[in-house]
């Protein structure tokens, strides 16, 4: 049994939270699973070649539009707060990323995943799997209909709870932009206690993972709504060539 307390982990988080960049620390001791799974050497700089400046393309045979609605995958309505989650996928220059793949997975309203390894004794919802996919539209917009996931315990330390979140997997215009992350909900009291969220040691960067309640994206008498835009880091073919031009000018 894990005897490390939340107080001990919180003290470790405070000690480890020296100012950081926009991305999480890979070496973040309070998240115990990271200890043996982070590289100890610096990432090596590579000038991207063409294959690293492009992404696969996905088409109508790859994704059924119905996969964007996680509430209709079974014979009945899942339990929980029905909601729309929508936003735009953008590159660092603010250009939309159209027709690209977005995948999501999440716990149900009780904080339980349909995954054999999830042993949390919360109820499984027979009407909710918690997996969805969609392609962004021409404007880079994605949209899912789902239910709000619950927080869940995860045994990093004694009585450790993850803030409620939806896992997102996002493709940009390039290999360099590939992103897997987690979207959170505003005001979650578990934020300060969570070593995964706190591994991003810059507060403004952490805030970028929190969706905004947006009454404009609700559906009247049907669902609440959250908006969350995703900005991808890294070069793609257009941005890299622009960067080379700047270097030539310098």
């Amino acid at each position: 049994m894990n005897l490390i307390t939340q107080d001990e982990i919180s003290a470790e988080i405070a000690a480890a939270s020296t100012p950081g960049g926009p991305q999480p620390r890979l070496d973040f001791g309070p998240y115990r699973s990271s200890l043996l799974r982070h590289p100890t050497k610096d990432l090596r700089h590579a000038d991207p070649e063409t294959i690293e400046l492009v992404s696969p393309v996905f088409g109508p045979q790859d994704v059924d539009p119905l996969e964007a609605d996680l509430t209709i995958q079974h014979g009945g309505e899942p339990i929980g707060e029905r909601m729309v989650v929508t936003g735009r996928v953008l590159d660092g220059d603010g250009r939309p990323v159209p027709h690209q793949l977005v995948e999501v997975w999440q716990a149900n309203a009780a904080g339980r995943y349909i995954h054999q390894r999830d042993q949390h004794p919360a109820p499984i919802d027979p009407h909710f799997t918690g997996v969805g996919r969609c392609l962004t539209d021409a404007d880079g917009t994605y949209a899912f209909t789902t239910i709000k996931p619950g927080p869940y315990p995860w045994k990093n330390h004694r009585n450790a709870w993850r803030p409620a979140h939806i896992h997102f997997s996002v493709f940009g215009r390039a290999f360099t932009q590939r992103l897997v992350t987690q979207m959170y909900f505003p005001g979650d009291p578990l934020f300060a206690l969570d070593p995964i969220y706190q591994a991003i040691t810059d507060e403004a960067a952490r805030d970028r993972l929190v969706a905004t309640y947006d009454h404009e994206v609700t559906r009247p008498e049907w669902s609440t709504g959250y908006r969350w835009d995703i900005v991808l880091d890294g070069a793609d073919a257009v941005r890299f060539e622009a960067h080379l031009d700047e270097e030539d000018d310098a």
């Binding site: 990271s34 043996l36 590289p39 090596r44 590579a46 696969p56 220059d93 896992h167 992350t181 403004a204």
Partner: protein, 187 residues
Amino acid sequence: MSLPPTPGQTVGPFFGYALPFERDSELVPASHPRAVRLHGHVLDGAGDPVPDALLELWQLDEDGMVVQAHGSLHRDGYTFTGWGRASTDRAGHYQLVTLRPGAEEPGGAAFFSLVVFARGLLDRLHTRIYLPGQDDALAADPLLGTLDDRDRATLLAHDEDGGASLRFDVRLQGSGETAFLRYGRSS
């Protein structure tokens, strides 16, 4: 205009019922006359297997051309899309079935591009898997030229079974740690 990026987070332990899909690791069917098996282990800093890692392969076609074909998620058995996905098994082993990529330029080095995700890994890692048997091209490669011999060796695949297989291990940490790459991203 420059927007601050959305941070990454770990893929966590529960992606296994969401991200894998049928024939995700078969960029070509194993029956393809030039199919090659690319396989190996993902290992942690103690040398133990990582049974909950997810790898993605991005590559040029055999002629060194970028592929832009639909059908990666719904494979028809004929269309090569240049992209695939593989989960590690309980022994930390992965395998992909694909074609050997060509080099982008004549005389250039041919390589696969690899993204690594895992529980415990807080953000994705990028690396390259260089094909063996192209000594002159490897010697002239701009990236490999910046690495010492030990790091360089971590990026080379090895032929097995007379070339029917390529072996490449990913070591997240410690002895033989894979050289992971950045491309001018802000981290």
